[in-house]
Symmetry: C2
Subunit: 338 residues, 2 copies
DNA sequence: TTGTAGGCGTTATCAG
DNA sequence: CTGATAACGCCTACAA
């Protein structure tokens, strides 16, 4: 009573496998009566095509791969949700792999997906990776690829991003509008494009508002964690007590800063104003509530899948496909910390 | 220059496909020289077996399915991480699907996975589901199945759980030890086993400490959200101002309560003590920091995969497999809210 | 309208 | 030690 196959249906009905297949797939050259009996029996037996065979035959798996640095992350889990939902609507399933911010692991994950012969790959790069050689494999094999959020401009593929520079510029301008004169930036690691762009946005906002840029006021995270936020808060207080504004690369880091400040009776926003980035859920539940930059994570997931799907379909139709870049809007969310 | 097959290697080497296959798979009955040349060529051509064909042949996909109510959730995303990591170590990939707490969608996801012919399924039930008929399909097809966290005792499968009743009992006992005399419980929905068990633990703790149980002090969430926490906090204050302790089904709800209390100058823990459940990251960053019950989410993921793997292997070897239940320990984490 | 034949790429059996 | 052959289940020209 296990896996029903076309053969079984054909045999019990005393007809050929071909006819059964055709009937099931709605071909017109099947007698109305045979069709009916086939459909009926298939229904009764709960026939479902063996996807292994279908995969082999059609050379596609209706499965895509997703590689992200970290699953346990408000931003990424929202992206995941966006991708999964859209994928499902379009008949695709999603295999998720974590790079854990390691290039070696990223390479391995990509190879796994390639071996698995997924129909396409969506990726957000790890902090260390840039234009690693393993991407050439994807290109050579012409596997549809979409990068989002943490991208490398050197890798030719579709991309879904925000304008990090502009978003950071707005965030810092917001601090300035609120009266900040000496603003520190806790930035992300050196390599990732979005950390660079946010830093650039910070710098440009200062310059445009006639505040001289001081590299000493820039603190660089390596792991972008809550703890780093705390420890930089301490450093900032110790070495630059006259600072009146902080722009943190991520809400998590900002919340770390806030925790330190709360513990040490630094009043936010009275003494120091603070703005984060990404609008994690957590930013609404701390006190004071954190001002931040909203990043449309769910939408990013959706759009990423759509770009991928376009490319998959183009490939199937033998059409050429020119990578596209979608830039999503961000918004400043003013709460209590600024 | 696309997909290298055994055939191509065989042809360029002028030998049979069979021999190539054997050489590659390390069979002993292949001449040392032929083996070498095969291995060499395969390496040079970057041969990887076509997994579609392998799947069809071996009747397994080396892929498992995971169905959870919600991806964007600190607890579940940790479980996901645990599962993905263990799966990868054992050569399995993971397809993730969301039920969004809907029975209809859960049913659909399971059917998708069944069609995909995953080697096994790990699931945490949606709040509404109990012993839905679609589980019988899994049983009939003998697809290995593991339930975790939100389980149904009626479905015969391996399970990875915590002792919710005991954990809740400890949480409430903790409140009592801290001096609470009148304790409210914000419970989860009516159906899920873990909400029931936590409620039972709450009740038992009261009884064992000679505090009479008052059903009016039990508030029932439908969605288990931050907002519900807030709104129940308001209700509690309005109808039972003499309450001095609250046990919330989840940290998210507790944080909602806390937000309301903070806004209305109710001091925690001085006026009311509060304990959550699950030890979400967010519970450490609110102020006061939330006391809670630590639930080993990552470990749950790992164990779930291992149970599944055991069952998959038993099935492959034609052995019978008796479902196991693993119960993981929880710990009270005392912070500032109690 | 129906069926035959071949192939997708791999693996297992069995004969040479 | 090597290879021919069949089979996994489905799909699609092409014949009948």
């Amino acid at each position: 009573m296990k896996n029903i196959t076309l053969k079984q249906i054909a045999e019990t009905l005393g007809i050929s496998i071909t006819t059964v297949s055709k009937a099931l797939k709605g071909y017109t050259d099947v007698n109305e009566n045979t069709r009916k009996s086939v459909l009926e029996l298939a229904e009764r037996l709960q026939y479902t095509p063996n996807s292994f065979a279908v995969n082999l035959r059609t050379q596609e798996s209706k499965t895509i791969g997703l590689v992200i640095p970290e699953v346990v992350h408000h931003f990424f889990s929202n992206v995941i949700r966006g991708i999964i939902e859209e994928a499902e609507k379009n008949g695709y399933l999603v295999i998720i792999l974590q790079s854990s911010e390691s290039v070696a692991s990223e390479k391995k994950q990509i190879e796994l997906l390639l071996q698995k012969r997924v129909d396409g790959i969506i990726i957000s790069l790890s902090n260390e990776s840039n234009n690693e050689s393993y991407f050439s494999q994807i290109m050579e094999r012409k596997i549809p690829l979409v990068q989002f959020d943490k991208i490398s401009k050197l890798i030719p593929s579709s991309k879904v991003i925000i304008n990090d520079q502009k978003a950071a510029y707005s965030a810092v301008s917001h601090l300035i509008a609120k009266g900040c004169k000496k603003i520190a930036h806790i930035r992300g690691p050196v390599n990732p494009q979005n950390a660079i762009d946010r830093f650039l946005g910070y710098k440009k906002a200062l310059e445009d508002h006639n505040i001289s840029f001081d590299p000493k006021l820039v603190y660089t995270c390596t792991d972008v964690t809550f703890e780093e936020g705390k420890s930089f808060a301490k450093q900032i207080l110790a070495s630059h007590p006259d600072i009146d504004g902080i722009f943190a690369i991520t809400d998590l880091v900002a919340v770390g800063v806030l925790a330190y400040f709360n513990d040490h009776k630094i009043r936010v926003p009275e003494d120091i104003k603070l703005i984060g980035f990404s609008n994690w859920f957590m930013s609404q539940v701390v006190s004071p509530k954190l001002s931040t930059v909203d990043q449309p994570s769910f939408e990013m997931g959706k759009q990423s899948f759509h770009l991928l799907l376009e490319e998959i379909n183009a490939k199937k139709d033998g059409l050429s496909f020119t990578p596209k870049t979608i830039e999503l809007d961000t918004t400043i969310i003013e709460r209590e910390s600024t």
